[in-house]
Subunit: 122 residues, 2 copies
DNA sequence: TCAATAGTTCAATAAGTTTTGAACAAAGGA
DNA sequence: TCCTTTGTTCAAAACTTATTGAACTATTGA
């Protein structure tokens, strides 16, 4: 079972910016960037909101073409679509990530993870 | 009389992205970029919406720190805050503009302006 | 002074987004 | 098989944003 993702040329600037305009989703992207391509489970984001709410935001990011979601057992593994976004909008994601990794929200959950509460390696 | 603008360090990534996530505002920015720093009157944007509506969107852009609005007689002259945004979020505006100048909405009003209907030099 | 121009403000509405909890589904392990 | 884990879907509520028209202000030019 595969989830629907837009192809690279279906990704629009307007949709990408609208998706990243939400603070929760921007923090999710900042957190993913800190993990440098390491696939990440939805569970890792629960500090950003309720399970239902995270599910909603991750769907938005996927539909905008910002993340890729792969099903793996009972989990889903989320990654940033860096290469595709880079070729579609050169420099955009890099500049956003550079600022997003330092967002207070992102640092807060990084610290929580370091306390050993979150699974870092799914 | 001067309008309120955020200082460079009051500009947040989240606000900038939320402001540019709207198609009308993204088109306004694309159009401003095409004019390469030439101050532009609100009137020039009326193809994007009603006078009231443009006023609303221009206020959003100003409040997010994306544009500067200077009062000049009965008009207001709008410019992009390129330098400030560049130093705050290096590469961000460039990558957005690169895609925004080719937006269908922007091209459409550029053509209308070429027919001589809009004032190009306020 | 009067009228026109350029744009804002206000209140109302329409439209869209986010958040929530309850119920559900699918996979994996005991 | 049954329970747990991981996440989704649905409908409702809460909230935010966008759009409109009417009334307004401030400046300029006749």
């Amino acid at each position: 079972m595969t989830l629907p993702h837009p192809t690279a040329d279906q990704i629009t600037l307007s949709n990408v910016l609208a998706a990243l305009g939400d603070p929760t989703r921007l923090a999710i992207v900042g957190y993913l960037a800190r993990r440098e391509g390491q696939p990440t489970m939805c569970l890792n984001f629960t500090d950003f909101g309720s399970k239902t709410n995270i599910s909603y935001h991750l769907a938005k990011l996927r539909e905008a073409g910002i993340t890729r979601t792969e099903v793996s057992g009972t989990s889903r593994l989320i990654t940033l679509r860096r290469n595709e976004l880079d070729s579609r909008f050169p420099g955009l994601l890099d500049s956003i990530i550079a600022a997003a990794v330092d967002l207070p929200m992102v640092k807060k959950i990084e610290e929580a993870a370091e306390e050993g509460l979150a699974q870092r390696d799914p």
